[in-house]
């Protein structure tokens, strides 16, 4: 066998149920050592001799016509090598998008430097390139940008304004529909209608963005460092936009200080450092500061919905009709209309829904452009849908748990196909026991006993309540990913993947899968990711896809190497492969009887390119496998919260929280729990603290971490995590579903439900975040 061609039937080998030797176990991470020792390599840690520092001059008003940009003073400042405005980069096309089926969005893409207009505070207008970061910043402050103010659009639900002559601020409307929606409303026992909104917040990783470009003239290669998430797509686009072949551009990923959706998209600064490195023939370093981050890196989430549900007398959904306005900010970035599309496609969630119609108005405003943030389109629509379920329960005087039970898709209905699409794939809920997980979660939380306790506390004057939210996630977006597994002449194992890491433990998870399949120690496996120079193709790390896609490819490639090793050993030991096994990197008799053995190192040496036995064959103890998937895997779960409102301040304290999440199969339960708890912290941030606010002229008001509040430990409740494996995905050999976003998904919806309950006013909460002043006002007006 040559390591490249799969044998017939080999993709049928699935991971056995139950914990394995290393899969399914809470082993420690192989990533941690350099990180705890301060030896990591984050973007700002990358330096090259002779490097210049780039500083971006950004728009200071939200919408204006550019009259002039005067950089003469800046060019004369000490250490300044160049100052560029739009005219200097007119040859670089608008930044394209990668992730939408929606046509006609091209005119709304962002230029690397503003051309005729600025459209949000923070938009790049010019760049200064200087020999020192402090000097570059000094010079940038002297660049004079003269602007003629234009009217701003700040409310996505307001009538559209003008983006440019001939183009208004509604690039498209995302529409989806199935079933007879009008008949559903005609025959309804009751119609429940709500207006709901989610505020503007985003990933805000602790490491800001950075980009370091270097042109290696000796090899004619442009290198970009500090990259994340989508290296191969970004490599191809950078090459195209700058007029180079993709083979002459390489992207490198070091350590990544949190991604959460926002990092690793192609931004203006990435192209600017690359262009400058090519033209100036010096390495160019750009490190975003925090104020820049809060106005320049993708925002997310902001939507307002007008939703109606038709229900029968038992509270069963007959139809949902939703109109929403998606606040995209000033430009369409790399995701196109993906978040609005996901919102429309995922809104029905876990419920049986005979008819559905949605119109998502994708609107531009004079704010920072928006795109994905952990659980994009689901955090928003889980809030909307679960608010709706609570409202139906209140209207029909049915218990909120019972109303959900009546509508949850049953296990017998799986796989459950909806005539809908999301991320360009048909929505087919692949597997699940929704009601079973709901029961487990309620029991674990002590739901019924808690309500008695809360009633007693209310009687004693406390403002306390509890709520829940059910969610469906999506994961494992295809179409493909490949992995090459190689054992070298010393027996060391390397996994080269087209995936990326954003700090979530990819290396450990892939190493565990490889170790399980191959029979080696996981902790000594080297996992290569995020590098275009080591593997030709890759689809990166996003959409909770790595464990599903790259994990499955790792499994298959590792099994192929195992088979190759066993066949080689069998010949040398004069046994059949079936009589052999591999453990700790040594091939021995599977029956445990004493006998000769061979190490993987010896086998690898025997398969070297100069070994006579390898004549006519592809050498090496190595295999590459590609995993394809046409459908996504859908994890699901439920959030339960118990909260207290301080009557004096309106502040919410989350007392207790449970996330129950079925992810099919946990490769490493410790990492899964870390994803869920960390994801929940972000979800709670969006529910209670985080908001990008603007004044009426479009000036951003959340430009420091003292204004944009992310949860500290003081805001984090006691969190319990129930990881369920009741419904392995039938779509991949590991049975896994992604675990990255379930902790975030239901948090806004769950907290809103609990606050309603504490206020004793069903439906009181219609928007997020729930800031103290708003709740204080609700408490004051409460009867």
């Amino acid at each position: 066998m040559d390591g490249l061609s799969p044998r017939p039937g080999e993709d049928a080998r699935t991971l056995a149920a139950g914990p394995g030797r290393v899969v399914g176990r809470a082993v420690t991470r192989i990533e941690d050592l350099p990180l705890v020792r301060g030896e990591g390599l984050f973007a700002a840690d990358v330096n090259f001799p002779r490097q210049l520092h780039m500083r971006v001059v950004r728009a200071e008003i939200a919408h204006g016509r550019i009259v002039s940009v005067d950089a003469e003073a800046a060019r004369a400042m000490p250490g300044v090598v160049a100052v560029w405005t739009a005219a200097d980069v007119a040859d670089i096309p608008l930044i394209p998008f990668r992730a939408t089926k929606v046509r006609g969005l091209e005119p709304y893409c962002q230029p690397v430097l503003a051309r005729d207009r600025v459209r949000y505070v923070g938009e790049p207008v010019a760049v200064v390139l200087a020999d020192d970061a402090y000097r570059a910043e000094d010079a940038a402050e002297t660049v004079m940008v003269e602007l003629e103010e234009l009217p701003v659009v700040l409310d996505a639900a307001a009538p559209p304004g003008e983006f440019a002559p001939g183009h208004d601020t509604e690039p498209t409307v995302v529409r989806k529909e199935y079933g007879d929606i009008d008949a559903a409303f005609r025959s309804a026992h009751a119609v429940v209608e709500l207006e709901l909104s989610v505020g503007r917040h985003s990933g805000v990783p602790l490491e800001t963005r950075g980009a370091i470009a270097r042109y290696d003239a000796a090899h004619d290669v442009l290198e970009l460092h500090g990259t994340a998430k989508k290296q191969h797509w970004n490599r191809d686009e950078i090459a195209r936009l700058l007029g180079r072949p993709p083979q002459g551009v390489h992207l490198f990923e070091g350590h990544v200080g949190g991604g959460f959706g926002v990092r690793g998209e192609l931004y203006p600064e990435d192209l600017l450092v690359c262009a400058a490195a090519l033209r100036l023939r010096r390495p160019i370093k750009w490190i975003e500061d925090r104020r820049e981050h809060l106005v320049a890196t993708n925002h997310s989430r902001q939507q307002s919905h007008r939703i109606r549900a038709a229900v029968d007398a038992e509270g069963r959904l007959l139809g949902i009709d939703d109109v929403f306005f998606h606040d995209q900010g000033a430009y369409v970035r790399t995701h196109g209309a993906r978040v609005a599309d996901l919102a429309a496609g995922m809104l029905p969630g876990p419920y049986r829904l005979p008819a559905y119609r949605v119109a998502g108005h994708f609107r531009l405003t004079n704010k920072t452009p928006a795109a994905t943030y952990r659980a994009p389109g689901r955090y928003e629509t889980t809030f909307v849908r679960e608010r709706l379920m609570d409202a139906i329960a209140a209207r029909l005087e049915i218990d909120p748990v019972e109303i959900r039970r009546r509508n949850l898709v049953a296990t017998a209905e799986m796989p459950h196909a909806r005539p809908l699409d999301a991320l360009g794939t048909d929505v087919v809920l692949d597997s699940g026991d929704y009601e079973g997980l709901l029961d487990k979660a309620l029991a674990r939380f002590g739901w019924d006993a808690m309500h008695k306790e809360l009633a007693a506390r209310r009687a004693a004057g406390e403002c306390v309540g509890a709520g829940l939210a059910f969610f469906v996630e999506k994961s494992g977006l295809g179409p493909s990913d490949g992995v090459r597994v190689t054992v070298d002449a010393t027996g060391a194992v390397e996994v080269v993947s087209g995936a990326a890491s954003v700090g979530q433990g990819v290396e450990t998870a892939l190493a565990q899968i490889c170790a399980e399949a191959l029979g080696v120690d996981y902790s000594s496996i080297r996992v290569v990711r995020g590098r275009t120079d080591r593997i030709e193709f890759g689809n990166g790390a996003h959409a909770s896809r790595v464990t599903v896609m790259s994990g499955s490819a790792t499994w298959q490639a590792s099994l192929a190497v195992r088979e190759m090793a066993l066949e080689c050993a069998a010949q040398l030991l004069q046994l059949s492969p079936a009589e052999l096994t591999i453990s700790e990197g040594v091939v021995t008799r599977a029956d445990g009887l004493a006998g000769p053995s061979l190490t993987l190192a010896e086998i690898a040496r025997g398969r070297g390119p100069n070994s006579p036995a390898m004549r006519g064959q592809t050498p090496g103890l190595t295999a590459e496998r590609w995993f394809w998937s046409d459908h996504m895997a859908y994890p699901y779960g439920v959030h339960l919260a118990q909260i207290r409102i301080d009557a004096g301040t309106g502040g919410v304290t989350v007392e207790r929280y449970l996330v129950a999440n079925d992810i099919g199969r946990a490769i490493n339960p410790m990492l899964v729990e870390g994803q869920i708890v960390g994801g929940l912290a972000q979800g709670l941030g969006g529910a209670l603290l985080e908001e990008f606010r603007y004044d009426p002229s479009g000036q951003p008001l959340s430009t420091t971490l003292a204004d944009y509040l992310i949860p500290t430990i003081a805001e984090m409740p006691e969190v319990d995590v129930l990881i369920a494996e009741d419904a392995p995905s039938p779509l991949n050999p590991l049975g896994v579903k992604g675990a990255g976003e379930g902790g975030t998904n239901g948090a806004g919806a769950c907290i809103a439900s609990a606050v309603d309950d504490a206020l004793r006013r069903p439906g009181a909460i219609t928007s997020l975040p729930l800031l103290p002043a708003h709740l204080r006002a609700l408490l004051v007006e409460a009867p």
């Binding site: 984050f42 840690d45 402090y134 602790l206 870390g674 971490l705 500290t712 430990i713």
Partner: protein
């Protein structure tokens, strides 16, 4: 732009170097000395990622000028481990308890907690929570950091006994 020659001790080693008077200690440690383990997350004193010890006390390296460290002793994350092979008990416990994901906040957490456990070797969980209430972590949700700290405190008490 005026500079001044300063002398200071970092992780036990004496250094003399030119520092622009406006340069903050974080940039000096990272740029001039090449100690990039100290991370800059906000440069306005909120996130705590750049926390280092100045004469044994936790400070934010983004809020102290390099020239203010003249003749003083600085400990960064690179100075916590006793040797290239061994880890500080806090570092070991962070690994064992999944106290980090992306690792960007970790240096500031470790230095903050190193000072805290010297002052408070037998803390309650609540005391640990207060100790790191000025350090932001965007990945973990903090619980695992508290667990790691409790384990490190136990290990350090046992080693001292």
């Amino acid at each position: 732009m005026s500079t001044r020659r300063i002398a200071l001790t970092v992780n036990g080693t004496r250094h003399e170097a030119e520092a622009p008077v406006r340069q903050h200690l974080g940039d000096f440690l990272r740029g001039t000395l090449g100690l990039t383990g100290t991370h800059l997350g906000c440069e306005h004193g909120v996130c705590g990622a750049c926390t280092v010890l100045l004469d044994g006390r936790a400070i934010r390296a983004c809020l102290v000028l390099a020239v203010q460290a003249e003749d003083r002793a600085v400990t960064t994350v690179e100075g916590l481990a006793p040797s290239p092979e061994a880890l500080h008990p806090l570092q070991a416990a962070f690994c064992a308890n999944h106290g980090l994901q992306c690792g960007f906040c970790t240096p500031g957490m470790l230095t903050t907690l190193e000072e805290f456990l010297r002052d408070c070797p037998d803390p309650t969980e609540e005391e640990v929570r207060v100790a790191i209430s000025g350090n932001l972590c965007r990945c973990t949700g903090y619980d695992s950091i508290v667990a790691a700290t409790m384990e490190a405190a136990r290990a350090m008490r046992e080693a001292a006994a």
